[in-house]
């Protein structure tokens, strides 16, 4: 379809792809670190209020209001406070933070500086997934520039306030994107999530008050102060301010990261000329995962929904990390779910029994069905196993310490709810109806 989606002025992605966009010079020419100057003239409590007013919500997955999270840090604690940046971007379908880190890392660093000053933080750890070698180089170079320019270090841009920022690379574990597993990993341990409460804002890194924020969330903070909280909030809906990055992948002509408004719908993202440009002639959408592989899948008749936290919640799914994965009508739903299930089996940390045992069980059943060995009763068994990890709906009933259990069960529940007939056809025909071409329009490789 032609372009009818309302254009927005990009905030986070405005400089991506431009020459030297990752340097301090480039960032300063675009007004970079002016927001920090403004913030440093405010009282810390006023900064937090401003972020609350902006309706900025976390971009890592849960969509928690950022200002509210900041306000949970106790003011009177004698312990040091920490900021941990979650750059463990590993949710299948999600690939936005990588571009912030490589193409405009100073925007995130400015957000870090503002957050740290507001929270009374003097040490910040930026935790990047281990596979982000190039992104880590760009981010470290930006941190070094910021030290050299006197933005970080003994003084915070001239103000008598010490702030040190250290980059840490993970080593390959999806679970470390879960905030308490991330803290365990930062403490030098395997990434086993902690029971909550206590929440990290009270007992976090090294037992001290800690805020964990996603890369995009922090990169969104400078705009709140440049534009003013009210103006930032007005860009979005009543409960969700600003713009957001969404990652489009799968069976579409033009995959990529797009900065959209909170009103942009899934249908617009997939078909509009500005974004995904639909799929090859003759093909139709079959299924769309709207917020990373953990988010319950939607069918083709459910795409007229804004890619915003509250709107997707009404559909019993989630905006999550903004990873939109499209599957066309030449894609096998059993094969797709089997691959997703394998991911969670591989990445389950092994701490809680329902997830440790349930995720491989799901995988075995799905493989059996896809390979034509499925028996009557397997679908109910699959549904049962998923329910034992986490019942649905609603989201969030998991029987495990962290949300990975929910994340592993939600795809199973939602695929079975919407595409049960396809699972039944596999069992009835004793084969995959898609034969050796289960992967849709773009599934061939040459």
């Amino acid at each position: 379809m032609a372009s009818t989606a309302k254009a927005i002025e990009p905030i986070i992605s405005a400089a991506w792809g431009k020459p030297q966009s990752w340097t301090l010079d480039s960032y300063r020419q675009r007004g970079g670190y002016e927001a920090l100057k403004k913030a440093l003239e405010m009282q810390p409590a006023a900064i937090i209020d401003e972020v609350k007013k902006s309706n900025l919500r976390g971009r890592g997955g849960a969509g928690f209001p950022t200002g509210l999270k900041w306000s949970f840090v106790p003011k009177d604690s004698p312990k040091p406070k920490y900021l941990a940046v979650n750059g463990d971007e590993s949710e299948p379908g999600t690939f936005k933070d990588r571009y912030i880190l490589s193409d405009d890392p100073h925007m995130m660093l400015e957000g870090i500086a503002i957050a740290s000053y507001a929270l009374g933080v003097h040490t910040c750890y930026v935790y990047l997934r281990g596979e982000f070698k190039f992104q880590a180089q760009r981010a470290q170079a930006a941190i070094d520039e910021a030290y050299k320019a006197g933005i970080f270090g003994k003084k915070l841009m001239g103000k008598d306030y010490e702030l040190n920022v250290y980059l840490v690379r993970g080593a390959g574990a999806y679970i470390c994107g879960e905030e308490t597993a991330l803290l365990e990993s930062l403490e030098g341990k395997k990434g086993w999530p902690r029971l909550k409460p206590p929440f990290p804002a009270v007992v976090g890194l090294f037992g001290c008050p800690t805020v964990v924020n996603n890369v995009e969330t922090l990169a969104s903070v400078p705009a709140v102060f440049q534009k003013g909280a009210d103006a930032y909030a007005k860009l979005g809906t009543d409960k969700s301010g600003g713009t957001r990055l969404v990652c489009l992948s799968g069976s579409v002509n033009r995959p990529g990261v797009y900065e959209v408004s909170m009103f942009t719908t899934l249908a617009e993202l997939i078909f509009d000329d500005k974004y995904g440009r639909g799929m090859p002639a003759g093909r139709k959408v079959k299924a769309v995962i709207p917020g990373g592989s953990s988010a319950p899948v939607l069918g083709a008749d459910e795409l007229d929904v804004a890619m915003e936290f509250e709107a997707l919640k009404v559909k019993q799914t989630m905006a999550g990390s903004g990873g939109v994965i499209v599957m066309d009508d030449a894609t096998c739903m059993v094969r797709s779910l089997w691959r997703v299930a394998r991911f969670y089996a591989e990445e389950s940390c092994g701490q809680c029994t329902p997830c440790r045992e349930g995720t491989p069980w799901q995988t075995r059943l799905l493989r059996k069905i896809e390979e034509g060995r499925g028996e009557p009763g397997d679908i109910d068994m699959l549904s049962n196993v998923a329910s034992s990890i986490a019942p649905y709906p609603p989201i969030g009933l998991g029987n495990t310490i962290c949300a990975l259990g929910d994340a592993a069960a939600l795809p199973t529940h939602s695929f079975l709810m919407r595409f049960r007939d396809e699972f039944e056809a596999h069992i009835r025909e004793k084969r995959c109806p898609f034969g050796d071409k289960p992967w849709g329009s773009f599934g061939d490789w040459s």
Binding site: F134, V168, Y174, G188, S249, R339
Partner: protein, 162 residues
């Protein structure tokens, strides 16, 4: 006598690296440096030999078992010496929708290895999402990222690996 773990040059790099890592953490939290210290060791040796794990544990004032526990939890650490080139192929959903399974099969045939196997030159592994779904299919070779891969592009990359 057993050969020393490090050459003098490697020893210098390790010592400087450990000192830098420890400076990032509170003095009573040395063990927090575990991930960076293991990465440092692997950058130097290409893998994590047992005596290296013991050395890291000593510097961080934890037991060797603790170092092993961490090293075995994360997939990027090599507890066995890998091939000269470690190839990690993403086959997760978005990549498979762009032919990743076929790309992996092509690599298996071309290298004469199944995913999970290794020889002196190559370690071939199937890996989980590399956060590059918009430029699928993708893979990493010794942590260098390659994306939007076609057969021609992949052949050209492999041809440069001596």
């Amino acid at each position: 006598m057993a050969e020393p773990l490090f050459t003098p040059e490697e020893q210098k790099k390790f010592d400087a690296g450990i000192a830098e890592i420890l400076s990032h953490y509170p003095p009573d939290r040395k063990s927090a440096g575990m991930l960076p210290a293991l990465r440092l060791l692997q950058d130097i040796k290409g893998w994590l030999p047992p005596e290296g794990l013991r050395l890291v544990a000593r510097h961080l004032e934890v037991t060797p078992e603790r170092a092993m526990e961490v090293a075995s939890f994360y997939v990027m650490y090599h507890l066995k010496k890998p091939g000269k080139y470690v190839i990690d192929v993403c086959t997760n959903l978005s990549c498979s929708l762009w032919g990743a399974e076929k790309m992996l099969a092509y690599l298996e045939e071309k290298l004469g290895l199944k995913a999970g196997e290794a020889n002196e030159k190559f370690t071939l592994r199937e890996t989980e999402c590399l956060a590059s779904c918009g430029t699928a299919p993708c893979l990493q070779i010794n942590e260098d990222h390659h994306e939007s891969l076609t057969k021609a592009k992949l052949d050209a990359i492999l041809a440069k690996l001596s």
